[in-house]
Structures are given as structure tokens and as C-alpha cells.
Symmetry: C2
Subunit: 442 residues, 2 copies
């Protein structure tokens, strides 16, 4: 199975072969793509022992790094997998197969004139580069999304997961080999930093880069390359408890937003409270936070109102900090406008929630705040592709162009205009022999 092997090749060659594979993929039917996905899922299950053995090699080496203080325990946990983990990978691939076809959707259709009809049709982006660390489950998950959406993908994994990644990528390529219409160069794997540096220069060959890692890493990639980048930036989310809030809902929403999973980018970092509701709301809220060991940093009014010495005075830098931890900053505001202005100044455009029974106020807040998600009486933690029903998630984008918020399959597609005519020329219209109708037909 020569086509299933990795040939040593330079990055430009890999990218060009990926481009050729993408062109071939773009012409396949949904059934062809799904059959291949299901075969890949089965291959993962069938060859789980190989995956676990390769992962053992990586984990043993990684454990030494943990003991030497060169790798965090969290990174080690993300690297380690098991037979159960492989079964989960396969299940996710089958989930992707069950999603509707993201390609060939008619996004708009217009009869320009008799016999001249324009369709705006979804189609693949082309070649996706993804740079990630540790988690080997990224390979089957992103490979599945890419194949489903007709894109070729170039993976660059971390050296700590090299054996796991190589086995996973080989299993994919070999599982797809019997499908003669599926190009093996759909899946490509690179390992070194030098490869990434070269990849980032190939703006003509790569359509989208997805860096998965720290904010600093995502920013580095965006600033280094002129290839479009899909990566979540900062998640500095707020909950604003309005004067007209229902106290019970406010407590539930703010507690969940902070405590349910504080390391997530959609967790709340700052709680804003209207001064008229603060005396009733804040003492109960603070008790709940205390019971969950949340460290609190309050504005002067918060500290004065509650008279608590265990609330640290918040500094300017607190309003700018994504704690990603069980820490919350609290600020009392005199008006809803003050809350909105605070969010406009310090928010990262990720997810912002208002708790109020005043629908007009909620509407004003949601229109005024420019963020990927604006919520009414809901925890910020709902900002997630699975919760949104997208079926799978590539990440959460705080960029405004192309894809914003949780990004699923649609983020891997673009569109093309298909125009069907019968010998139509522009000169017919410029000379006035014919006139445009421009009738929307769905």
C-alpha cells in the first residue's frame, strides 16, 4: 500500500499534493465522503491496540518529562489515551458522518434574466493547516471534519505525541486507501518547528491555519503569517446583573458562568452588578462563591457594601485579566450604560450575558454589545459548538470575519457563484437589448 505511506518530502511538496487532493475531494458525493468516514471510524476501533501501544511510548517518555518538571500534569493528561479513548474518537468520527452535508447547499438563487440563473453554492475551502499539541484525538476529529467538508488537511503535532500521531494518521490513510476515489494526500502530518515556519509562508497553498494552543501561540501565528487564521483569542466574558434581575436566576447564571468550568474561555471573569440590586444580590452571591472557594476581587463599592475583608481590592489590571481560574472580579455600576461601557472597554468580544426581567433592557444590551455571543438570562458557558447544535467544534472565533463564535463544519466552507446561461453576453445588456430581472428564487 505505497500510497498509504508517508514519504519524506519538503513542506511545499506536501502542500501541493494536499492541494491536488483537495481538488479531487471537492468533486466527491456526500455518500462517498461518509462511506470513507465510517471506514476510518471502524479502522480506529480495529487497530486500537496499535494506537494504545504507540501512545504508551509517548506517555512513558512524557512521564519522565513530568517528573523532570519539563511537562505539566495537565499536558500529560491530554496526551494519554486508552482503548476507551479510542472508542470515543471513533464515535466522534461517526457523529461527523451523521451531520448534514455542508457542501452544495444553495445559499441564494437569483434569476438574473430569462435563461440566466445565478446560484450561490457552498463549497470547500481547500487546504487546512492545523497546529496542535499533545491531544492525539485532534487527528481523527479534524480529519473527519475536513473529509466531510471536502478539505485536505496538514497536521503539525507536538513531538511529545509523535508516535500516537503517526499511527493515527497512518490508520486514516490506510483505511481510505481502498476508496480509490479518495486521494491519500487528504491527510498529511509534519513534526518539526521548521516545518511550521515554512508552512506559514505558503499563502498560495494553504487556505486556512487553525492554531490550537495558548493565546500567545495563536497571536504568534496570526502575526507571523499572512494565511488567514481561525483561532480563538481571549475570552474575557462578563455577566451583568441588572436592576430588574430575578435574584434566583442571577445567582444561578453567575455561579455557573464562573464555577462550572473556570478554565474554559467562555467562563465569566468579571461580574457587574447594578447598584440598586447589589445590597440584596451580592451577599448571597458572595456566599455561593465562598462555598466554591472562588477568590474575589471587588471594586471599592463592593468592599464597602459587603464589609468583607476576604474580598481583595480589584486593580485596573483585574478588569483586563482572563483568570481562567476560580477567581472573579466584581464591580458595582450605577447604570446599565456603565455596565455596557465597561464591557465595551474590557470585553474581548467573546460572550456577554445580561440577567434581567426587563426585555427592553436586554434587547438594548444585546444590540449595543459587539460580541460573538450576547445572552439574556443564560450562563456564558453555553458558548460551545456542541451546545449550539453545530455537531462538532473547531474552536471559538473572536474574529468577526468568516466565522464568529463556535465554529463547526461551516467554518471549513466558502461558496462559489454558479451562473447558468445560454450564450448570454454583457453587451446585450449594455446596449439595452435586454434588461435584468433580478428575481430571487429562494
Amino acid at each position: 500500500m505505497a500510497t498509504a505511506q508517508f514519504h519524506p518530502a519538503n513542506v511545499l511538496d506536501i502542500a501541493r499534493r494536499a492541494r491536488a487532493a483537495a481538488r479531487q475531494l471537492a468533486t466527491l458525493s456526500h455518500a462517498q465522503r461518509n462511506d470513507a468516514l465510517l471506514a476510518a471510524a471502524q479502522a480506529l476501533v480495529d487497530r486500537r491496540a496499535e494506537i494504545v501501544a504507540a501512545n504508551e511510548l509517548d506517555s512513558t517518555s512524557a512521564l519522565r518529562d513530568v517528573e523532570a518538571g519539563q511537562m505539566t500534569q495537565a499536558m500529560f493528561q491530554r496526551l494519554k489515551t486508552s482503548e476507551g479513548g479510542v472508542a470515543e474518537m471513533a464515535a466522534r468520527v461517526r457523529d461527523v458522518a451523521s451531520l448534514p452535508d455542508p457542501l452544495g447547499r444553495t445559499l441564494a438563487a437569483t434569476e438574473l434574466d430569462e435563461g440566466l440563473t445565478l446560484y450561490k453554492i457552498s463549497c470547500p475551502l481547500g487546504v487546512i493547516g492545523i497546529i496542535f499539541e499533545s491531544r492525539p484525538d485532534v487527528i481523527p476529529q479534524v480529519a473527519a471534519l475536513a473529509l466531510k467538508s471536502g478539505n485536505a488537511v496538514i497536521f503539525k503535532g507536538g513531538s511529545e505525541a509523535r508516535h500516537s500521531n503517526e499511527v493515527l494518521a497512518s490508520i486514516w490513510r490506510e483505511a481510505l486507501a481502498p476508496f480509490t476515489e479518495i486521494p491519500p494526500d487528504l491527510i498529511n502530518l509534519m513534526h518539526t518547528r521548521e516545518d511550521v515556519a515554512e508552512l506559514l509562508t505558503l499563502a498560495d497553498e494553504i487556505d486556512l491555519i487553525i492554531p490550537r494552543g495558548s493565546q500567545e501561540f495563536v497571536r504568534y501565528i496570526a502575526e507571523t503569517s499572512h494565511i488567514p487564521v481561525l483561532g480563538h483569542g481571549e475570552g474575557l466574558c462578563h455577566v451583568y446583573v441588572d436592576r430588574e434581575a430575578n435574584i434566583e436566576k442571577a445567582l444561578a447564571v453567575a455561579f455557573d458562568s464562573k464555577v462550572q468550568y473556570p478554565a474554559a474561555c467562555n467562563a465569566m471573569e468579571t461580574l457587574l452588578v447594578h447598584e440598586e440590586i447589589a445590597p440584596e444580590f451580592l451577599p448571597a452571591m458572595i456566599e455561593q462563591f465562598k462555598s466554591a472557594s472562588v477568590e474575589m476581587r471587588g471594586c471599592a463599592r463592593t468592599i464597602a457594601l459587603t464589609g468583607r475583608e476576604d474580598i481583595v481590592p480589584a486593580r485596573e489590571s483585574d478588569w483586563r485579566t482572563e483568570y481562567s481560574d476560580l477567581i472573579v472580579s466584581i464591580k458595582i455600576v450605577a447604570t446599565a450604560d456603565e455596565a455596557i461601557e465597561h464591557i465595551q472597554r474590557y470585553g474581548s468580544g467573546h460572550t456577554e450575558s445580561i440577567v434581567t426581567e426587563d426585555d427592553a433592557m436586554a434587547s438594548r444590551f444585546m444590540d449595543a454589545i459587539d460580541a460573538a455571543g450576547v445572552y439574556h438570562n443564560v450562563s456564558t458557558r453555553f458558548a460551545d459548538g456542541f451546545r449550539y447544535g453545530l455537531g462538532a467544534e473547531l474552536g471559538i472565533s473572536t474574529s468577526k470575519l468568516h466565522a464568529r463564535g463556535p465554529v463547526g463544519l461551516e467554518g471549513l466552507t466558502t461558496y462559489k457563484y454558479k451562473l447558468f446561461g445560454d450564450g448570454h453576453t454583457v453587451s446585450m445588456y449594455s446596449k439595452g437589448e435586454r434588461a435584468f430581472k433580478h428575481r430571487s428564487i429562494g
Copy 2:
């Protein structure tokens, strides 16, 4: 009318005021935006004498530059306007007012669970920077599109149009001044290269840059700045005359694609002809091109077949050249696949057309070619926002992300997710107390 005047300010201040203006604009109703547009259109008509007088100042100076060989005649023509030109500007603004509202459109709606509903709603991008030369009509046209779509705009015009641009921008600001809800900093104007250099660094303040000018200029902007750029790149378009083409349609489509307006980016540069139809098609085509003074550069087979000495042998560089002139390169291909491969190699992803009566072949061509527009039996010259029925055009994008092909109002919008609940928390779902429905509701 202090608010209507331009204050000397640094670029960062201008950008921040534009950001504040954009936030205010985002909350206005469609009727408020349209009333302001119609007032601006009327102000242009009422103050046409001022505009023409300012344009006279610019034109007189420009004429000296033309005589000194420092400005092209074409650039001078684009700079010059008249009372009729101003009336046309006003008519275009009214056209924009008559378009449907691009904001607040529901792009998707999902019931996540009882009482928990997600809407994907179109909204403004924020602050747009536009860098252009000569044509003063860019100001009313783009200002109208920006106001309609709730965006603030920072113009940087050429020094050759300084008086025209200043009067036009002032008229806009003064026309909008009585509308107290419309922020005057919606419209901003800068003049110097240093201003542009600073503008390009403000990635946090500017959401989109639209450079209008040469390909080199657009490329320079894209490579200099990390702000997303909407600008058309190269337009290297092909027409492929298939074996099964109707000769009459092929002649009409190819002639129109080359001759109707050869300077346009959507004009054909290379004509690909199937070898089986070439003997019948090419002699007639060449006669038509000759009659229109089109210079022809042919592959060896074209020259051998036609035996014409007035067809220059095409070199490799011809397949890569956007002539933007009455020049065409002609290549005979043995198969449709050879035509597809030629386009994949040399095409710029702009607009590609096949002429054939074989619908299956057309379909294969249109799926295999990755371009903003893929046409069947239609001239490439149809790639245009007005012809597509978009109402207005900001440019034609050969980028695949955000906006592709002719870009209208939609290119100035993004979306936000609005989530409405009733105190919903993620912990309810993670604990299994509730389950997601994910029911699409339109």
C-alpha cells in the same frame, strides 16, 4: 455646527471616535439609517455647485500634472466630475437606501431546549478603512453602504482629489448633523501616506481595510497590515470552448468576455479550445477578434492549425499575464481535463466559463474549478455586483474567506449569536437534569 467640522487629530483618536460612532450606529433602526441616507443624497444635490467648484480646483491642478506627464489621462478622467456626476452620486445613494436592511437578519434559529433559543443575527462589522485614489464618487458611495450597514468609515483619499473629498465628506457630516442619533464620526477623512501607515497598525480599532487601486497596491496593503483586507486580487479569467460547444454561443461568449470591456478584472485573458472543435471554431473566432483589433498570442497548435502569421507565438509568461487590454492568448487542448488543469494552474480564482451543450461536462467543470464564479455558456463579464443583483458593489474578492466574488452590503456585515434563556445553566445539562433538543426553527 461644531460637530460637523474636522478636528486635527491623530489617527488613533480618529479610529477611536469612529469605533464609538460605530457602536451608536449599531443600535439604530433601518428607518433611521435610511432617513439619514436620503438627507445626504438631497444635500449632495443642493450643494452640487460647491462640489463642482472644489473639483475644479483639483482638476486644474491635475491638468498641470497631466501636461507635465505626472498623471495619466485615465486618472484625470476619474478625478473630474460635473453637476451630472453629482446627480449620479445622489442617485446611487438613494439606490442604497432602497435596498433591504442587511442588519438584523435571522441567519439561523435553533431551539436548544425548552425556553432556551439561539438566533444567529446579522450585524455590522464596526469600523471600515478605505484607501482610494482619484474618484471622489467613492466617498458618497461607500459612505452610503457603510451607513446602511451600521458601520463607521475612515476614508483616505488621494491628494489629487483633496478639495473634492473634503467638500464631499463635510457635506455628508453636515447633512447628518440634524439627526441627533447619528454620530458625526461615522465619516472620517485622512489625506497623507503617514496616516495610512499608522492606520494599518490599528488592528484593534479597524475591522476591515478596503484598498482600491492596482493589484500591487492591494498586495502591499495585505502584506503590510494584520487587519483583514477586502480587495480584489488578480483577475486571470478563462473561457473554455468544449468539444460539445454550440459555435454561435462560443463566439458570442468569448468575444464579449474579451472585448466588451478589456480593462475589467473579469475580462477573459486566455481562450482554451478543445482540439475537435478548433478547426471549425477558431477561424471564425480569430476573424471576430481581428475585426475588433484584438492582438492574439497562440500556442503552437493554434498557429499550425490557422496558418496565420499575425498570431504571435504564446510564451509560458502569456498564460500568467492579466493583459487588461485587447490582447488574448489562445491554447488548443486535447481534453476537458487539460483545460481544467490549465485553469487550476494559471487561473486566479476569479471567474471561469465553459461553453458546452454537454450539461454533465459543465457540471464537472464547475465542481472541479475552485473560483469565485464558475459559468456555463455565459460571458465572464457578468461577474459584477450590479449584474448579480446585489444593488451595489464594494469590489470583487478573490479571497475565499468572509466574502468571495462581487461583494455588496453583506460584505460589511458579520453576525452575532443571541441566546435567550430563563436562568439556564450548563451544569443542568452536564448533570443530566436536562437534555438538548437542537430543533431548527428556521
